[in-house]
């Protein structure tokens, strides 16, 4: 029987399978954060249960934490209580916590990979939809709700129906100035925000092989925005090189043995997928979302759509409503849209390569006087690395605010929010109504495109950027 990468990882984790029932699958790594866990720990406590595998459970604080120096002060009393609750829960149940003052604190989907916790072939869950990020390593990784968080804490297993499989084959090479974020937005634009519902995506093809690990993480991260249960990229030499020497990665003989196993984690020639989609990488461009979901997206050189020219009534209504919320006239050229705020960060685009790309655009330029721009590294490690390379100096000299790590303005659970009516070029993952602050208007872009918009004050085609290296 020829199997896909997904089939192989799935099969290795089936604890129990019975006809007509969902499978019980084993979870190798459970990542926990402050927002979706308090009710789960409370459930354990009420039932007198323990955390089954504290060695497979790792917690950090990311969603609520302020990004001001030293993450202080936490003026929001309820946020402070939630963070404190995680501390108490981790201490009571014996779960390892990378707390605010830890050198390893950061966004949960940034620290998992950088600490070597995320490994090929694993099953990884977290009470967070962007857990799909970890699929970049050839892990089966997906977001779960709080009831399932409690279930995994108590049993280290999940009850799951086997998802369907979709292969997205990206042929050719991405043009210069086109980032993996653009590829991700291009895929969502093509298959829609529900196109992946019920599927695990495997990305294949030359353009995917050519991506760095961090770029693969961005691609897998955004797959939930296409509705996919999870996304995967088969591990290869790029994966193994990234993982080498990371703190929790296997060492010595165990490493050799692990790599041997990981090399088998690829789809067999001729294995069948439930759905196949082909994408021409050369046709990708820097994308900008213009509406209120990530599928409402267009190339930088395009105009926003005009509902009057649409024939489908539902599409017409949704487009008109989105443009109204976004405060954009139908047919406006995207390059004419002015921004007030720029956010570079989030589990999608806050890793060192993202910051390098943005800094290269910003170098020897200055943020437009009408724009307020901030850079929020994904983790303490990313921040340290960026500062070692002097990126913070480039950003600061250009007028960007340089912050402490956290989820920050991606979802505005901490004080980093935009005001009603403000327009933000954001490297995050969701442009839903009010996502970054009530009445705020979010446009999703790559780090390069965000930096360019910060400098010119409007969306600008980074393919024509005059770098001042």
């Amino acid at each position: 029987m020829k199997r896909t990468l997904f089939d192989k990882v799935w099969d290795e984790h089936v604890v129990r399978a019975a006809a007509g029932e969902p499978a019980l699958i084993y979870i190798d790594l459970h990542l926990v954060h402050e927002v979706t866990s308090p009710q789960a720990f409370e459930g354990l406590r009420e039932a007198g249960r323990e955390v089954r595998r504290t060695d497979r459970t790792i917690a950090t604080v990311d969603h609520n934490v302020p990004t001001t120096p030293n993450h202080r002060p936490i003026t929001d009393r309820i946020a402070a209580q939630q963070i404190d609750t995680l501390r108490k829960n981790c201490s009571e149940f014996g779960v390892r916590l990378f707390d605010i003052d830890s050198d390893d604190q950061g966004i949960v989907h940034v620290i998992g990979p950088e600490l070597g916790l995320t490994q090929p072939g694993m099953t990884i869950v977290c009470g967070d939809s962007h857990t799909s990020t970890h699929g970049a390593f050839g892990a089966l990784a997906f977001g779960i709700g709080t009831s399932e968080v409690e279930h995994v804490l108590a049993t280290q297993c999940l009850i799951q129906n086997k998802p369907r499989t979709m292969r997205i084959d990206v042929k050719g090479s991405l043009p210069a100035g086109v980032a993996s974020k653009d590829l991700a937005l291009g895929v969502i634009g093509q298959i829609g925000t529900a196109g992946g519902t019920g599927y695990v995506i495997e990305y294949t093809g030359k353009a995917v092989r050519a991506l760095s690990m961090e770029a693969r993480m961005t691609l897998c991260n955004m797959s939930i925005e296409a509705g996919a249960r999870a996304a995967m990229v088969a591990p290869d030499a790029v994966t193994f090189e990234y993982m080498t020497g990371r703190r929790f990665a296997p060492k010595g003989a165990a490493w050799e043995q692990a790599v041997q196993h990981w090399e088998q984690l690829k789809t067999d020639e001729g294995a069948e997928f439930n759905r196949y989609i082909e994408i021409d990488a050369a046709s990708m461009a820097p994308f900008v979302t213009w509406g209120t979901n990530p599928g409402m997206v267009a190339p930088i050189t395009a105009n926003v759509p005009n509902p009057a020219r649409m024939t489908n009534a539902a599409e017409q209504q949704a487009t008109a409503r989105a443009l109204d919320y976004m405060g954009i006239a139908p047919g406006t050229p995207i390059q004419e849209i002015k921004v007030d705020r720029v956010f570079i960060g989030s589990c999608t685009n806050s890793r060192i390569e993202d910051l390098r790309s943005a800094a290269r655009v910003a170098r020897n330029y200055h943020v437009h006087p009408n724009v307020s721009a901030m850079v929020v590294p994904g983790s303490q490690a990313v921040k340290r690395q960026a500062e070692a390379e002097g990126l913070h100096k480039i950003f600061r000299a250009a007028g960007f605010d340089w912050r402490e790590p956290g989820c920050s303005m991606c979802l505005g659970m901490n004080p980093d929010i935009i005001a009603p009516g403000e327009r933000c070029a954001s490297t995050s993952n969701r442009n839903f109504e009010g996502r970054q602050g009530r009445g705020g208007r979010t446009h999703l872009v790559s780090p390069e495109m965000a930096a360019a918009a910060a400098i010119t004050g409007h969306f600008t085609d980074v393919r024509n950027w005059q770098y001042r290296d």
Partner: protein
């Protein structure tokens, strides 16, 4: 978990596709550490104006839909974040079932663990239900999980399918953890095989 067998209630039609969990329950309400009390924040930015006053135009604020317990809405309902606060808010507000052409995976999963039934019906049937709810004040339907159908008193009938396991859990109000712990020896055997 509260079980779900047969429920009859007022229908509230929310005619919009791709309603994400940020709309169902905005982020500022996710900081609470309880499971209860989220109903007052359901669809907050739509129910309340920026000054905090009631938005009397929003469907759930219309007196005719007061007490509605069945939400009928557009496709891909519940997309976005995995926050279980979304079904907590729906349930706490009084919704027992949501009817739509399709649902996002994680959201539907979360509903099933909180006694909220997600009913996927063909687009035409959903559109029909919306029209009926808009036409008749106090319009009610019966959602029957045993028979897997939605009916009203004037001849509407639509069958639906739910995953058999999820259906069984909802019918009986079973808690997943309790079910899984019956297989403790299998879990332990799996762990010893792998280590």
């Amino acid at each position: 978990m509260q079980n779900f067998r047969v429920h009859t209630g007022i229908v509230a039609p929310l005619d919009r596709a791709n309603i994400d969990t940020d709309q169902i329950i905005p982020k500022q309400f996710l900081k609470r550490i309880e499971r209860t009390g989220f109903g007052e924040f359901l669809f907050y930015d739509w129910r309340y104006r920026p000054d905090g006053s009631l938005n009397s135009d929003f469907i759930l604020n219309l007196p005719r839909y007061e007490g509605a317990s069945i939400l009928v809405t557009g496709n891909n309902f519940g997309c976005g974040s995995s926050r279980e606060h979304a079904p907590w808010a729906l349930a706490d507000f009084g919704f027992r079932a949501v009817v739509a052409p399709s649902f996002a995976d994680i959201f539907a999963n979360n509903c099933g663990k909180n006694g909220v039934l997600t009913v996927a019906l063909p687009e035409a049937a959903v559109a029909d239900l919306m029209l009926r709810a808009q036409a008749t004040e106090g319009y009610t339907v019966t959602v029957d999980l045993e028979q897997q159908c939605v009916t009203d008193s004037t001849g509407f009938l639509a069958k639906f399918q739910l995953d058999p396991f999820r259906r069984e859990c909802l019918l009986n109000g079973w808690d997943d953890i309790g079910l899984t712990l019956r297989f403790e020896h299998e879990i332990a055997a799996f762990e010893s095989r792998r280590r």
